[in-house]
Symmetry: C2
Subunit: 267 residues, 2 copies
Amino acid sequence: MATGRNHRPATRSRGIPEATVARLPLYLRALTALSERSVPTVSSEELAAAAGVNSAKLRKDFSYLGSYGTRGVGYDVEYLVYQISRELGLTQDWPVVIVGIGNLGAALANYGGFASRGFRVAALIDADPTMAGKPVAGIPVQHTDELEKIINDNGVSIGVIATPAGAAQQVCDRLVAAGVTSILNFAPTVLSVPDGVDVRKVDLSIELQILAFHEQRKAGEESEAAAGAPAPAAATPAATAQTENAGPDAAAGRKGPDGDMPAVMPA
Amino acid sequence: MATGRNHRPATRSRGIPEATVARLPLYLRALTALSERSVPTVSSEELAAAAGVNSAKLRKDFSYLGSYGTRGVGYDVEYLVYQISRELGLTQDWPVVIVGIGNLGAALANYGGFASRGFRVAALIDADPTMAGKPVAGIPVQHTDELEKIINDNGVSIGVIATPAGAAQQVCDRLVAAGVTSILNFAPTVLSVPDGVDVRKVDLSIELQILAFHEQRKAGEESEAAAGAPAPAAATPAATAQTENAGPDAAAGRKGPDGDMPAVMPA
DNA sequence: TTGTGTGAACTTGTTCACAGCA
DNA sequence: TGCTGTGAACAAGTTCACACAA
C-alpha cells in the first residue's frame, strides 16, 4: 500500500483498534460459554481469565465498544454477547464458499465452529471433476466452473481458499472478480488482491516455525536439566502465555511465488 | 550498532522482536523459492515484494539478525536462507506429534509443509481405539495410551492438538507432563499450561469473525452498489493488505471452558 | 465497598530518511 | 551510483493506577 493512508481513516468513535477486534471473538466465546451456564453477570477479572487475557486489557477493549458494564458489579453476559456479536457483524449470517476440498477443505467443511457462529457454508468447490456431486459434510461438492454462478446466486462475500499453493492466486482472482471481498487463505502463498479486499492468512508451517524458534531458544538457555532424562515438567501451578493470531496489515506486492518448497540448507 | 555502552538488548542476535520472528518464515519461503530458481541475490525491495511486506521493514528485520547484505548489491539468497533457517532452529529436525486424527488432524498429517521444513511427524495419536493401526498419510495411528511412551522415545518437544475442544486441555496436560514444551493448538479453547511452555493457537472461526467485522464495515461505509446486486469488484490492478498471524503473548488464566459452543443471539 | 472506565506512562512495532559502504 | 543498515520520529498496543459510579 504505497499510497500513505492505511486502512481505517480512524473516524472518532468508530475506530476500534485491530488488536481489540482480534480479541472480540475470544471474549465472545467465553461469554457464550457463560451464557449457556446461565451465568447472569461477570466481572472483567473473571471474563479475562476465561478468555486468557488480563483484565485491564479486557476493560480497555470493551471501553472502545461503549460503557456496557456496571461499576461495582460487572457485565451482563447476555447483553455483552449481543453487543459483541453485533459489533463483529455476526447478527447477520454470512454465506461462505470453501474452495479446494482436499483434506483441509473437508476439515473446514466439517468444522462446527463455522456454522455455529453466523457463518453458513454456501458451497464447496473443487477443481477435480470426479469430486463433483460427492457430499462432504452433507454438502455436495461443485465444480470450479460453477464458481462465479455460486458466488452471485448466494451473494457470497467471504471465500476460503484451501487449495494447493499453485492454484491459490488464480482461485483468488476469480473469487474477487465474482464479488468476494474477504478471503481466508490457507494456501502457503502471498495473495495479491485489489484494494478493498481483505485477506487473512493461516499458515500451519509458519506457526510451527515460530514455535521452533522459541523451542530452540529454550534449549540453548537452559542447557542444564533438560538433556538426558525426560524432564518432569508437570504440575507447575502457574498458568502461562497463549499466543493468538492477530497482526496488523502489511502491504502485499505482486510476484507469484508458488508451490510448496522443500527446505534448502546450504552449508 | 553502537559497539559498547548501550544497555544489554540487541547486542548479538539475542533479542529479536516477536514481530520480526513471525515474519522470518515468510522471508524464508520467498527466499527458498528464489533459491530454487537459482537466483543468486535479491534486493530488499524485491524480496519484500515477494514476501508481501515493505522493504524498510524487511531491512530492519534483517538488521536484528546481523549484517548479511551487501550495500549496493543486495542479499545473497543461499546465505540468507541458511542464516534464517539457523535462527529459526530449522537446521535441526523437530519431531512433532499430532494428537486427534479427525478431519483436521489428517489434513495436518498430509500437509507437505510440515515435512518439508525441519519438521518430522513422529506419530499420530488418537483416542479412538478403532483408529489404531490405520495408516494416515502413511503413518499408523497410535492410541492415546501410548502418548507418554511416544513422546519419550522420540524426544518430542512440539505437540499439535487437533482434538475436539473438550479433550484439548487434558491432552495438553499429558503432553506437557511427558515433556512437550511447545504446543500448536487447533482446538477452540484457551489452554492452561505451566510456565515455560509455549502455546500458539490457530482458530478458524476467530479468523472468519475478524473478516466478518471488516466486511460489515465495508458494507456500512459504501452503502452504494453493494446491497441488492453482487457488486462487480473485479480487475483493479492494485495489490493490497495481507494479514498474517503474529501477536504478542498474553497471560492465560486458569478456568476450563470446554466444548464447542453454539452462537447465542438474544434480541 | 467493589469493580468499571480511562487518562497517562510505558512498551513494542513501523516508517522515514539518510549516512556510509561496496 | 545503488542499496544496505540504522538512528530517530511516529504510531499502535499494553499496563498502571485511580477517580468515580452503583
